[in-house]
């Protein structure tokens, strides 16, 4: 459980630091003469100072904490289960390295799309998003091919906990990508069909970018755990 606890300890430290800053010097029983004074504490003020923080961005941040919790728990379970004697590591197909490269490309394309949004470059946005979408699909096909190779060499899911974890973790990671693809697809349809475009998709492009970078990081951590057996 140490991985989960580490993650939670960090998260708690951030939350407590933030809360203390928000609440320690406040005398709530004193009525405000104007609302202005109140607004200078509170997250609202951060929103006001550095441009509004959109609710969807906050929600994505919270969601990423939830997803981190899921993967931290899987990794905790992985490390605990690995110590039992029957663990037989499985050979990682070389294909996984290629897939990792493809996933890096996805992140780069989405980052490119975000840059294009900021420059109001319609073609760039379309290109970046579509390429990212196709590359993500390619990544998942690649993962399926890796599964296929392993199954062909006899490493079935029920064979050994190492196999079981490999299939489970890759599948859960892919499920999260599929969720992202749904959002991305809606944005792509919007950007290809509508005329108002760029402003309309600015938010999904930015959020997809953050989400893909996050899932790339998750994949790299998972991959290093899978390699390190």
């Amino acid at each position: 459980m140490e991985w989960t606890l580490l993650f939670l300890a960090l998260l708690m430290a951030v939350v407590v630091w933030w809360l203390v800053r928000q609440t320690v010097n406040v005398e709530p029983w004193v009525a405000g003469a104007s609302v202005e004074s109140v607004q200078s504490d509170g997250i609202r003020s951060m929103a006001n100072l550095g441009g509004a923080v959109r609710p969807s961005k906050v929600a994505l941040g919270v969601f990423l904490a939830v997803v981190t919790s899921v993967f931290a728990l899987f990794i905790s379970a992985y490390s605990i289960r690995m110590e039992v004697g029957d663990w037989r590591p499985l050979p990682e197909p070389a294909l996984l390295w290629a897939n990792t490269g493809i996933l890096v490309l996805c992140s780069i394309f989405l980052q490119g799309a975000w840059v294009a949004v900021k420059r109001n470059n319609v073609q760039g946005v379309k290109l970046g998003m579509t390429l990212a979408f196709l590359m993500t699909v390619a990544f998942m096909v690649g993962q399926l091919m890796a599964w296929d190779q392993l199954i062909d060499s006899g490493y079935v899911i029920s064979g050994n906990p190492a196999n079981a974890f490999f299939y489970t973790l890759t599948a859960v990671h892919a499920l999260h990508l599929i969720g992202g693809l749904v959002v991305l697809m809606i944005a792509i349809v919007r950007v290809w069909s509508a005329a108002e475009i760029v402003a309309k998709v600015a938010s999904p492009v930015e959020l997809c970018g953050v989400y893909w970078h996050f899932l790339l990081a998750v994949w790299i951590i998972l991959f290093s755990f899978l390699l390190n057996t």
């Binding site: 919270v62 728990l73 379970a77 906990p161």
Partner: protein, 591 residues
């Protein structure tokens, strides 16, 4: 930044909170079924949660009948009995209390108390309810598949949860795990909404430290749930794979029906760690909203500011943080390292500190208050008693040496029902009575409410007090039938009959509650918009019940939620949106 510029009394800065674009339903279906209004979603959540809770109540009565009058009822056999135990626990903890507190009260209270028009993502909110509803349907379906619902205990420990021999290992356990996964997905959608709304959609002037404690509690409980439910999701996924694809995450080598199974080397203890990593925060996911709601009720009906508001807030946060490092106190009997037990006993006793701070503060809120013994107040005070009772036995069970002999006895049943069942349910009733006039626009019948309270409160004690004694005598829990066991005295059997009769009375007396809220819905007196003279924003809506969008113009908040009996003012409450200039007019002129 607490120092306030008193010269700028009438200055109001331009609107900083963006107006939300509200979705207006055009069809009947969109208005009442697939509704995106948080208030309607709250009622949908509550009705479904209470409905499935009634099923669980029925199951508990069936269990009590078997314990009091063994083998007198044809429809209860050992298999059924275990299924009843399992489903009663699971439904009550997850599908009733979690859904009711966060989905029900969370949805209703958060936008109204914060002065928002709605949740930030109304559409996701609506989906959240329907996914929850699907989870409930899958859960109910598990009763009807071949082999019936799972009977592995609400903790679903492997290996017995998926090995032939325990009830419901065919389809029951699969549907149970799927239902939990659905519940978690649905809850995550709702939870993102609650957290983001609290962070982003507060009206002007509603700083964090002006939020009512109800919102603080629901907020922290939601954060806990968002971080803890993944543990249940992860264990559900892995157990599902163990069951369906014969992986060995949790399943050790087992010989079943004379043959070696395909399982090998899995760790049941790993499951217990994951489960309780969710399971203990879950206790506080249920308890914290109850703490918050009860703080509100006590303060309003004692006409007094909540004692130690800042301490209350920090206690909520501290309980939330600590609740993640106490989980293994549920596993003292699992054979783990004794040093582990020492660590978890220590953290368990530490978490009693912020909890005790809250209890002291409630009592001190009542101290010298102008206490009005209304129906909600009765339930709130009943909660304090019950929670102290349950909390004190928790101190016993938190210690390894005392827990080991008591762990599998009725003492534990008594403890967690006092602290986690009766206490939150008393708050649920109190809160429903308290907010009933706002939610429905009509008053409930006071007399029926009082009868309901005394039956429920006294009856609960008649059920659970004797169980402590049974537990100390060593009566094991989860048993279908005790037969002629030497160490269980005859009087214990008599006591069991008495407990069961009390349980039937308490269950039956809930008819007063349901009759009251249904009858009053149509025939109740029209309610005043603010019948309790409360300060929080939900009582300041232009319509009662609040209309779509809650407020005409978003309120401005000048003060905290607890300006009751402020010295120097005629009126004994000053609502949150009353500016100092308006408040001056209420000031007493007695020089």
């Amino acid at each position: 930044m607490a120092d306030v510029a008193h010269d700028a009394v009438d200055y109001v800065p331009p609107l900083v909170v963006e107006e939300e674009e509200l979705y207006h339903a055009k069809t009947w279906l969109g208005k009442y079924v697939f509704c995106q209004d948080a208030k309607v979603i709250a009622i949908q959540y509550s009705v479904v949660a209470i409905g499935i809770g009634l099923v669980a109540l029925g199951l508990s009565i069936a269990m009590r009948l078997q314990i009091a009058f063994p083998d007198s009822f044809a429809f209860i056999d050992p298999t059924n009995y275990l299924q009843f135990v399992t489903m009663h626990g699971m439904i009550m903890v997850v599908y009733l209390l979690t859904a009711l507190f966060l989905g029900g009260f969370g949805n209703y209270m958060i936008p109204l108390m914060l002065g928002a028009r709605d949740m930030v993502f109304p559409y996701v909110n609506m989906i959240s309810f329907w996914v929850y509803f699907a989870a409930v349907l899958v859960l109910v379906a598990s009763f009807f598949v071949p082999g019936g619902a799972t009977g592995a205990g609400w903790t679903l420990y492997p290996p017995q949860a998926i090995m032939p021999g325990s009830p419901g290992t065919d389809g029951g356990i699969i549907l149970m795990l799927l239902s939990l996964a659905l519940f978690i997905v649905g809850f995550t959608m709702g939870g993102l909404n609650y957290v983001t709304t609290v962070l982003q959609q507060r009206t002007r002037g509603m700083s964090l430290m002006r939020m009512p404690l109800t919102i603080w509690a629901i907020f922290v409980a939601t954060v806990l749930a968002l971080l803890a439910f993944p543990a249940l999701l992860v264990s559900a996924i892995m157990m599902l794979l163990d069951r369906l694809l014969e992986t060995s995450f949790f399943m050790p080598a087992v010989i079943s029906a004379g043959g070696q199974t395909a399982y090998d080397g899995g760790s049941p203890i790993l499951f217990q760690h994951l489960f309780w990593f969710f399971g203990h925060p879950e206790v506080y996911i249920v308890a914290l909203p109850a703490f918050g709601l009860v703080s509100e009720i006590l303060s309003v009906h004692a006409r007094k500011a909540i004692f130690g508001y800042r301490m209350m807030v920090w206690a909520i946060v501290a309980i939330g943080a600590l609740s993640f490092i106490v989980w293994a106190h549920h596993m003292y009997v699992s054979g783990m390292n004794p040093y582990f037990g020492f660590f978890f006993a220590t953290t368990t006793l530490i978490i009693a500190v912020p909890t005790a701070i809250k209890v002291y503060n409630w009592v001190l809120t009542l101290w010298q208050g102008n206490i009005k013994l209304t129906v909600p107040m009765l339930f709130a005070i009943g909660f304090i008693f019950t929670f102290i009772n349950g909390g004190l036995t928790g101190l016993f069970l938190g210690n390894v040496t005392i827990d080991l002999p008591l762990s599998d006895t009725y003492f534990v049943v008594a403890h967690f029902h006092m602290v986690m069942a009766v206490s939150p349910v008393l708050v649920v009733f109190g809160a429903i009575y308290h907010w009933y006039p706002k939610i429905t626009g009509r008053m409930f019948n006071d007399q029926l409410g009082r009868i309901h309270f005394w039956f429920t409160f006294v009856g609960s004690y008649a059920i659970y007090y004797p169980m402590h004694y049974l537990g100390l005598e060593g009566m094991p829990r989860r048993y279908f039938s005790y037969g002629d066991t030497e160490f269980i005295s005859a009087s214990a059997h008599d006591l069991n009959v008495a407990i069961s009769i009390a349980a039937i009375f308490v269950a039956a007396s809930q008819i007063f509650f349901f009759w009251n809220i249904i009858y009053s819905l149509f025939k109740g007196e029209k309610a005043d918009p603010n019948p309790w003279n409360a300060t929080t924003l939900e009582w300041r809506t232009p319509q009662t019940p609040p209309g779509h969008g809650n407020f005409d113009e978003l309120p401005l908040v000048y003060r905290w939620a607890y300006d009751y009996s402020v010295p120097g003012y005629e009126q004994d409450f000053i609502p949150q949106d009353v500016s100092p200039a308006e408040a001056e007019k209420m000031a007493k002129r007695v020089d």
